[in-house]
Amino acid sequence: MSYVTGKTTGVNGNLVSVLIDGSIKKNEVGFILVGDKRLKGEVIRINDGIADMQIYEMTEGIKVGDTVEFTGELMSVELGPGLLTQVYDGLQNPLPNLAEKCGYFLERGEYLNPIPDKDWEFTPKVAVGDIVRPADAIGTVPEGIFNHEIMVPFDLSYEDWTVESIVPKGIYNVRDEIAVIKDRKGNTKSLTMVFSWPIKKPITCYSERLQPDETLITQIRCIDTFLPVAKGGTFCVPGPFGAGKTVLQHMEAKNADVDIVIITACGERAGELVEVLKEFTELTDPRTGKSLMERTIIICNTSSMPVASREASVYTGITLAEYFRQMGLSVLMLADSTSRWAQAMREMSGRLEEIPGDEAFPAYLESVIASFYERAGKVKLHDGRIASVTIGGTVSPAGGNFEEPVTQATLKVVGAFHGLSRERSDARKYPAIHPIDSWSKYNSIVDNDKVNEARGILKRSIEINQMMMVIGEEGTSSDDYALYQKGELLDASYLQQNSFDPVDAACEPARQKREFAVIYDIITRRYAIEDKNEIRMFFNELRQKLLDWHTIEFNTKAFEEHENAIRTFYMQKVCE
């Protein structure tokens, strides 16, 4: 089969112009032949018979007149068993395999098979003569922690296909033919365990989208109780550098109550990923008893890797997430950081000489961000199973200023906003999520009214504190002072969480409810203490007791006893 080819006519940074000799599609993938290397690129604009391609590699050495081969396909990822535990770059190149082949450095123009060439034990789920449709499972293979469904490729036309042949249960290579299916007109299609899907196109093989109403447990008190995330929802974490965005995301990746976690490191430090890799391999997942890595895929396009593949990496991540959703699983996709992705778009837009919008970001920034977050969702699959993809993206606003375009465009489309504050991280108050500025539209694990009441107290407490800075403690009434202390107590002994303490690091929902009931009771009561010094000492002691309580294992006798001791302690001072 002959492909359309072309000749390069210009090079500007990672943008290469190509004179084409046939019909090509927008967003089609092509390769530039430079010496013995084939450099991958994507057509992003066609103008007057000239195709502009963004190249996923360094463009040094490209000449005017170099040959370009087009593939006729959009930028796609391969889907099939063997994806889990992998570390890919933004174009789904397996990095460890690449290291074996090329050594310390990333050689350009090297593209390896994303799905490992492995044998799997296949168990068929359909028989000859059965009717199947795209995304229906024809069988399963056991992969690590669960059964990986082998599905009819999503890109086939949505109609009834008849199973012509299917292999019996047995060991097959991932690329062996396992089934043949036939459509009504008699066209046959041979199926293996692997197929591909274009990354920029959402997978929509489900019957309907549902309201995300189930809380996604992260075991972080401040999030689950006050700023919850929902399965199938979206949330964003903007914050200045050093406020702990990445650490927070890793905590979420570790503790989130989902089946699969996909971490997309987009234009961030490589060193952080090395730590994730090491830590996740050593940690066990309490849900399965296996290593956390077994439910994780890492897409890693660090800051020094080519910019265009950085843009692709978030789409690669979300496509893999959607693939696992089709198996009835709940998936969490974390993108760190979406600002780097937006900057990649800005660089391309600049080279295309498009009219710039705010801070030189392209005018389509908002719609692109919106359509990315819209790929999250809780869905009902054709067989009635419920599955979800949740997206959490960090944002790195320039100068820590949330008014900038990427943060603002993101805030418009997400369901929860966890804004990190420099002030809180400087004061070592972790997680540094600002409890008042942040918001969430999802359901908390405790009663929403009580949460709002607690938040009201915290807000008032902050106002009193600001007032005290001006008029001093002397000018503040005892009632106000007690209210101020209540807010401080809620902050210090509920919102803050010690991620280094083995018990406090992960707080399960039942425990959160118990702890919240106690703290809610404390801050909604009135106390018969007038002297400010005494008030301070009373709350200091309460704080100490609550902090100790956090480090005691849940469902133990010691936990009960400590709770009772706390209750007895504050009930003595309550005035009726």
Binding site: T9, G10, V11, N12, G13, S17, M58, T59, E60, G61, I62, K63, V64, G65, V87, L95, P96, L98, A99, C102, G103, Y104, F105, L106, E107, R108, P240, F241, G242, G267, R269, A270, G271, L273, V274, E275, K278, C300, T302, S303, S304, M305, V307, R340, Q343, R346, E347, S349, G350, E353, P356, E359, A360, F361, S396, A398, G399, G400, N401, D426
Partner: protein
């Protein structure tokens, strides 16, 4: 066969264009006597950035393409030498042409990186004790202009236990260049140092080459098993040079005139910091001056998102607040059993001192506790924070205990009893 072109079509800023064919993107060329590299191709138009600037370039000057990209010589002979941004000697020594290596090479495969675990000792307590520098770390010094950042860099260069030092100077004042040269020569560290220096009066384009030259050489030394420290001063000048080039190329500016790829440019350089398994390592310590002492300025802001922490240089001292070494946890648990606890305790007390100081300045009454803190703060600043203090980590820790014992009762420090019994200076009895 090398073809020579003699018709320059346009000269704009530092960029000239010629009509030529069969030219590769990124190739090196000679425009007159000056080197230039190909930065853009458009059909037969070739855009060349002239390293030495275009002043005096005539439209009939010859343009010769060399068929290779920018390279730098790499060998042991580099040690003790000083070059400019294009690799031409500045020290009257012979020019080096053997074993040429390309600059700006590919990035390290993240799968090949290892978790850094070796401390780099500098003899500066504010670094060693409070924000330990770790091998393969990338760390900038955020500084207002006028702060003694070059003195600090020179001291680190002299005292640090590394095999090779690569100093990249960008937009250095000539005095500063001489200061570095003299200090390193006097201390005997010059023998293990390579310098790539662009002074403020040199052509701008050379400035943009300095980090790539320095890091290419450093990377090679590291692959040969050497522990390399790269000092880059000042990265803000580098960013400004990038800005200048981008504007001449009519690129759309993004933030305060800086090009949209500022983050990627800085990251590609800083990410060269790496530890190779079974070979050496590259550690990068850069200086980023903050225009107007504003940390939200695009250069320090982007840098902060890239690097693994930062040192704030303020009033001639490394500030304990704001300064951060993200990798210190990897090493400070293994130095001495009291390191982490003492570090936390001293910082907490110092922050309490700052509060007392504020209260004092507002005219509030000083309690006995406040007085203790004030005494402590003074001692802390003179004995540990002063940049002239030069003692190994262990001595600095002992000194820390002495300061604590001098000011407080053991139970006022909030340290664990077991640790107090072990480390509290002996002449004081535990109460």
């Amino acid at each position: 066969m090398q073809k020579i072109y003699t018709k320059i079509e346009s000269i704009i800023g530092n960029v000239v264009t010629v009509r030529a064919t069969d030219v590769r993107n990124g190739d090196l060329a000679l425009v007159g006597n000056s080197y230039a590299n190909v930065i853009k191709l458009d059909n037969d138009m070739v855009y060349l950035q002239v390293f030495a600037g275009t002043q005096g370039v005539s439209t009939t000057d010859s343009v010769k393409f060399l068929g290779r990209s920018m390279m730098v010589s790499y060998s042991e002979h580099l040690l003790g030498r000083v070059f400019n941004g294009t690799g031409v000697p500045r020290d009257n020594g012979p020019s080096l042409t053997e074993n040429m290596i390309p600059i700006g090479g590919p990035s390290v495969n993240p799968a090949k990186r290892i978790v850094p675990k070796t401390m780099i000792r500098t003899g500066i307590p504010m670094i060693d004790v409070f924000n330990t520098l770790v091998e393969s770390q990338k760390l900038p010094i955020f500084s207002a202009s006028g702060e003694p950042y070059n003195e600090l860099l020179a001291r680190i260069a002299m005292q640090t236990e590394v095999d090779v030092i690569v100093l990249g100077g960008m937009g250095l004042k000539y005095d500063d260049y001489l200061f570095f040269k003299n200090t390193l020569e006097k201390s005997g560290a010059m023998g293990r140092t390579v310098m790539f220096v662009h002074t403020a009066s040199d052509p701008t384009v050379e400035c943009t080459l300095v980090p790539d030259m320095s890091l290419a050489v450093a990377e090679k030394f590291a692959l040969d098993g050497k522990k390399v420290l790269v000092l880059l001063t000042d990265m803000t000048n580098y960013a400004d040079a990038q800005k200048e080039t981008a504007i001449t190329m009519e690129q759309v500016p993004s933030n305060r005139g800086y090009p949209g790829d500022l983050y990627s440019c800085l990251a590609a350089r800083y990410e060269k910091a790496v530890a190779f398994e079974g070979a050496g390592s590259v550690t990068i310590l850069g200086v980023t001056t903050m225009p107007g002492d504003d940390v939200t300025h695009p250069v320090p802001d982007n840098t902060g998102y890239i690097t693994e922490g930062q040192y704030y240089l303020k009033n001639g001292r490394i500030e304990p607040f704001g300064s951060l070494s993200r990798l210190k946890q990897n090493v400070n648990g293994k130095t001495r059993n009291d390191h982490r606890a003492l570090m936390d305790c001293m910082i907490k007390l110092y922050s309490a001192y700052k509060e007392s100081l504020e209260k004092k300045s507002m005219g509030f009454l000083m309690s006995e506790w406040d007085e203790k803190l004030l005494k402590y703060g003074k001692l802390f600043e003179t004995k540990l924070m002063d940049l002239r203090v030069n003692i190994p980590l262990e001595e600095a820790l002992d000194l820390g205990w002495e300061i604590l014992a001098d000011c407080f009762l053991p139970n006022e420090t909030g340290l664990k009893t077991a640790l107090l019994q072990e480390r509290w200076p002996k002449d004081l009895t535990l109460t």
